[in-house]
Amino acid sequence: MLVVRPAKPADLPGLERLAGSATPRLTNLPVHRDRLEERITRSQRALAREIDFPGDESYVFVLEDLERGEVVGTATIRAQAGAQEAYYTYRQETLIHASQQLNVRREVQTLSLSHEVSEASLLCALSLDARYKGTSAESLLRRARLMFIAQYPERFAEILAVAFPGYLDADGESPFWNSVGRHFFVRGYQDINHLAGVRSKSFIAEVMPQFPLYLSLLTPPARAAIGREHPDHEVALGEMLAEGFVRSRHVDIFDAGPVIKAERERLETFRRSTWHPVRIRPAAALPDAEPAMIANQKLDGFRCVVARYALSPTGQLMLSPEHAALLGVEEGRAVLAAPLALSAGEDVFDEGEL
């Protein structure tokens, strides 16, 4: 059985392993024991506190395979993308250069450093053991965070954002970095990304060129990489778009990976999640039903699993004793459930800009 729960200090070796196996390596999940340990500590501190509005909290979750007794995935929510420091992105902008004299009108594309996403809550640092790719475990790990946010809305922003790793070529080189950042930092992409993870990304962003960049002056491969996700994250991006996220004008400052955003109330998991009292029935006696994410309503004891969305005629959610034990709920206690399947999403670009 698989469960998503908050990370604890004993998960450190598992987190280290997942940080090392993430493709591509993630800024938010550096292969650095001290940093990862700090993250777990911060997460535990956030869960132990009473919090009325989002701030500098990070919530680190792990996916545990109970049969294996192993941590096989991790994912994080940063309550505010740029709480203490600014969260930097490049914002794609279009300027109109029109000349009455020549009767011409040109659209000039620029990338401007922006702090606009700083206020949003950021879903980040997701890494999953390759053996679980493409299974419901992947969706569970990714979206259990939404189940958590749905229960503790005061801890998070109205706007959620996800930054996807950007396009890298077969050699692991970022064409965008090579055309932009490298000029200023004289370092390779992997190198700077690691540094950003260990130190902080905004610390590096502060030394980025502050003026907007004209797209026409970038190399064609760099331009093609803008807003394009890493090939390994195509499916993940698709799922989040189906969830209700929309592409924004923002891209990552290092690799130009897409930043997607959503008002949380518009996400399927929020709209379709429902509270149900629990009825415990033997596993064999449960009717067949579509899979759903089921979460308990405990803060530091948060648990989210995938189980069948089997409802009794009176609206009670029927759980096996094993699942009930895992969630720590007794008969009659309420759990939050949301269907695992998403209606086909459409890939829309948010012109309205959240």
Binding site: Q101, V104, R106, F184, S216
Partner: protein, 339 residues
């Protein structure tokens, strides 16, 4: 040979010059109507019937024997008053972080109108058959300093000169190709032509307003920044000798340097002196002229080489031919410069 203000009767001669200069000589397009208005504007300027900040002093080099025009040059009283006057200013941004062990400087091109209100020496052209030993080029270039020295109060503090940038063997400016062409929907010559006609508003409308990090430009384009066309090198050297310096401003189209100086610091302005004319027969005349003389009137301004320097008493002896050329007689004042 002598320099004089252009006159209303010079239209045919000027158009012939315009045809010869061809593409790349921004300020002298082959457009009769435009040239006629240029002459008219210059005539009004020399008659001091227009305000000092809106004057184009346009001179011709004339072969007084044949009446043929051999070349031209001009002084713009103040640039950027009627239409904006743009440059890129080559700047440096320090890019450094102790924690990252990073210290670099990044060159940037900032759009600027810093030269608004400065005077400009421009439009110098000498027909090929008049080039060579007689220092006609120097006469065209330097007569302007005597004019500015004489009428110093009509000019602002600073003067500049825009130098032609680098073009490859196909006549393409690498700087334009890598920068301007992304923003202007036309080729270099068309952009240059419009600029020459004074129709510059499109520049402000279509130019990139944010600074350009030169590191994004290809190597050949970067190599053009502040560099002159090889044909322009002698003209640049002449201006440098007068004390004009490149301060980092470049042309927005071809990246060529703009050199500048405070007018009071220009060598020819500092060292030129006034003296009185004596007209004498049988004077020694040096082979290679080294003294430049200019009259002190504006509308009837003349400048020419003379064969000798001043006498010990400060007077300047002229041959009758020289006096005729400058249209002066005994007792008249001349501003002279050894150069």
């Amino acid at each position: 040979m002598r320099i004089r203000p252009i006159a209303r009767g010079d239209l045919d001669g000027l158009q012939q010059l315009a045809q010869e200069t061809g593409v790349g000589f921004t300020s002298l397009p082959d457009n009769r109507e435009f040239l006629a208005s240029k002459i008219e504007s210059a005539a009004l300027a020399f008659e001091e019937r227009t305000p000092v900040d809106d004057r184009l002093y346009f001179f011709v080099l004339e072969d007084e024997e044949s009446g043929e025009l051999a070349g031209c040059c001009a002084i713009e009283g103040q640039v950027g008053r009627e239409v904006p006057f743009y440059h890129y200013r080559l700047g440096t941004l320090a890019h450094s972080s102790v924690q990252l062990d990073l210290h670099r400087t990044i060159d940037t091109l900032f759009l600027s109108s810093d030269h608004t209100g400065d005077a400009e020496v421009a439009s110098l052209y000498l027909r090929p058959e008049y080039r060579g030993g007689q220092r006609n080029g120097a006469l065209l270039s330097k007569a302007r300093w005597l004019f500015m020295a004489q009428f110093r109060d009509r000019f602002p503090d600073k003067v500049l000169a825009e130098m032609r940038g680098v073009f490859d063997e196909n006549g393409i400016s690498p700087f334009w190709k890598c920068l301007g062409s992304h923003f202007f929907p036309m080729d270099f010559n068309e952009a240059d032509r419009l600029t020459g006609m004074g129709q510059k508003s499109f520049i402000g409308e279509l130019m990139p307003k944010f600074p350009i990090y030169t590191t994004f430009l290809p190597e050949d384009a970067r190599a053009c920044i502040g560099q002159v066309h090889e044909h322009t090198r002698p003209a640049l050297e002449m201006l440098k000798k007068e004390g004009l310096r490149w301060e980092g401003y470049v042309d927005i189209f071809d990246g060529g340097p703009t050199v500048e100086a405070y007018i009071d610091d220009v060598r020819a302005v500092r060292l030129s002196t006034l003296c009185q004319v004596e007209v004498t027969a049988n004077l020694e005349t040096s082979e290679r002229p080294s003294w430049l003389a200019a009259t002190t009137g504006m509308a009837d301004f003349r400048a020419a080489w003379v064969g000798r320097g001043p006498n010990a008493d400060g007077t300047l002896a002229l041959t009758e031919e020289e006096a005729r050329r400058l249209n002066v007689g005994a007792g008249d004042s001349l501003r002279i410069l050894e150069t």
